[in-house]
């Protein structure tokens, strides 16, 4: 079966709910490109995930244009992870946060030598942000600055 077309379905849903239309990003120019310059087994990996993951003890995300970021130490106890988000069914993420924040498989891949290591901290936020300007001018630069400060060799991005 063909992949689900989400843009028309979500557009219809927003209309039905009386929300203003969501502005999807359409980029027709070629994306930037930075080649990986070492084998994965030598790479330290950074991660940003938009599934609304936070750690108990941190302030949770709110549902009105929240573009804040949480730092999650990569030695976190998986049992301390929580999920909150307005736009997807949270039941599986609350059962096992690895479905949107793959911390356990990534730690395992480091132990197995497939990856060289992980950043000290991963970044989480809550997707479904209305304003592409706030993403490109505020959120994305903040995330990039954290990855540069950590000196990671590659970044995995996990949306919902």
């Amino acid at each position: 079966m063909e992949p689900v077309e989400y843009i028309p379905r979500i557009r219809d849903n927003y209309l039905r709910l009386g929300y203003k239309p969501y502005n999807w990003a359409f980029n027709t120019d070629p994306p930037p490109w930075t080649p990986l310059n070492k084998p994965l087994s030598k790479c330290r990996l950074g991660l940003a995930a938009s599934g609304g993951i936070y750690m108990t003890g941190q302030v949770a995300f709110h549902y009105k244009d929240d573009i804040s970021v949480r730092d999650i130490p990569t030695d976190v106890d998986t049992k301390d992870l929580r999920a909150t988000h307005f736009a997807y069914d949270l039941s599986d993420a609350r059962t096992d946060p690895n479905v949107v924040f793959p911390i356990d498989p990534l730690r395992r891949l480091v132990r197995e030598g497939f990856l060289g290591g992980l950043a000290e901290r991963f970044q989480t936020f809550m997707g479904g942000i209305y304003s592409t300007r706030r993403v490109t001018e505020d959120l994305a630069p903040r995330l990039t600055a954290r990855f540069l400060a950590e000196g990671v060799d590659a970044v995995l991005l996990v949306p919902v």
Binding site: Y6, N13, N27, D29, P31, L36, D89, D92, T136, A154
Partner: protein
């Protein structure tokens, strides 16, 4: 997330985007993407299936080494279910989208107490 990927990549760090929404990712056009044809909210696997989660991550992260063309999208070889009965239902009729509260939405009350730095609620009958 495609916008974030383009920004990070432009700063000199290679990126790979997971995605379960192929049309959204095609539109945002990130440098590298791995498409997992699962319902939203499962971009890196099914709950409590560590072997599946590991294999998804191995296949996805390998794209960082194997892809050579900007804008590449690999479809990962995993299916959510044989009949794919979830697809017609995804976002098809109404949805359970939650109201846009502007206060923190905790998973549980214990999280709220910890974040606000207060102890457990006082026992209403014990002498203080």
């Amino acid at each position: 997330m495609g916008l974030v990927a383009r920004h990070v990549e432009a700063a000199g760090i290679p990126t790979l985007c997971m995605t379960s929404a192929l049309d959204i990712t095609r539109a945002a056009n990130p440098p590298r993407a791995a498409f997992l044809d699962f319902p939203l909210g499962h971009a890196t696997g099914k709950p409590d299936e560590p072997e599946l989660q590991r294999q998804i991550l191995v296949d996805a992260i390998s794209c960082l080494e194997s892809m050579t063309a900007p804008g590449s999208i690999n479809t990962l070889p995993f299916r959510w279910s044989e009949d794919e009965g979830w697809k017609p239902k995804a976002f098809a009729g109404g949805d359970d989208r939650l109201p846009r509260h502007d206060t923190p939405q905790y998973q549980d009350e214990e999280d709220r107490r910890r974040a606000e730095g207060v102890g457990p609620p006082a026992c209403p009958v014990c002498p203080s």
